[in-house]
Subunit: 149 residues, 2 copies
DNA sequence: GAAGATTGCCGAATGAGATACGGTCTACGC
DNA sequence: GCGTAGACCGTATCTCATTCGGCAATCTTC
């Protein structure tokens, strides 16, 4: 994982459809060499997968909210319960007063309310505190260049 | 945006490297027809871009935190100030006591502290409240199938 | 209800690019 | 000094993306 790898990752994050020739040119390598490096990045797991970024609004995800989930019991083994709700995009165990933080996308606030109801039904959950997003400044992937700093 | 488009989006989210022939087969269409549909999804903006998913840990992003940012003035025009910090992955204006919620990834807690310091330096910011993630259950893209419900 | 226009699909052609391979150079260990 | 491993380059092949003409179904308009 050197500087060239990081530049490759950055370019691929911006556009994974570009040719290996263009990718190689961006870092001063041949297409073959660039291909080989990217293959190894996938092999090592640095690149988890190639995917498409979908506009949430286009598929019924206009309402975004973060929900702090309070609990009366250990939530460390409840990953499945949260994953079962497709509207939940992220679920994290956190340090602090609440025990789990989840990110939720729904098409309406009524559906958000329904998701909160289903979260509340999860075993051990004692309460929820939802924070609705009014405007998203930006959402972007992790910057590979950070490894430099 | 019908059912076929949603299935195409789901398949592309899982693996954007597969051939249009395979993609078409998954929805009962020819490669050409699948290609045409995907082209239109890009054109409409439903597909924003094709990208690679990078393992945060592999590029120095082991520490994840959410930060509630309190302010004394209107933060609606401060998107640039937050975007200037590459460690900030998301920034949202929220309803509630704080005014901005940001998602931060750094390699160490020391760097997290430094990011908090730089957030504090943004004009109008009066305080921050960081919540450190202990364990991530999952992070996944928005499900196109939600549009069905 | 009929003619025209639009849309979505198929199947084939072609051109570009992914992937594999042989050879060269450098760095490193013995 | 010699052998090995790793990274790169240039080339060759072969898959696949992309384009095109043609057809059927649907919608529009009169």
């Amino acid at each position: 994982m050197d500087h060239i790898d990081r530049v490759l990752l950055t370019h691929l994050q911006q556009d994974a459809t570009q040719s290996y020739a263009a990718l190689g040119q961006a870092v001063g390598l041949s297409a073959g060499a660039a291909h080989e490096r990217v293959r190894k990045l996938r092999e090592r797991g640095a690149i988890r997968r190639t995917t498409v970024e979908v506009d949430p609004a286009a598929v019924g995800g206009a309402v975004l909210a973060y929900v702090m989930v309070d609990s009366v019991s250990w939530m460390g083994d409840s990953a499945q319960d949260f994953a079962a709700l497709p509207e939940i995009l992220e679920a994290h165990v956190i340090a602090g007063s609440a025990s789990v933080l989840v990110k939720v996308r729904t098409s309406t606030t009524e559906q958000l309310q329904d998701v909160l109801r289903r979260i509340y039904a999860i075993d051990g959950v004692s309460g929820t505190q939802a924070t609705v997003v009014l405007e998203t400044f930006f959402e972007r992937p992790v910057s590979p260049e950070l490894g430099t700093g």
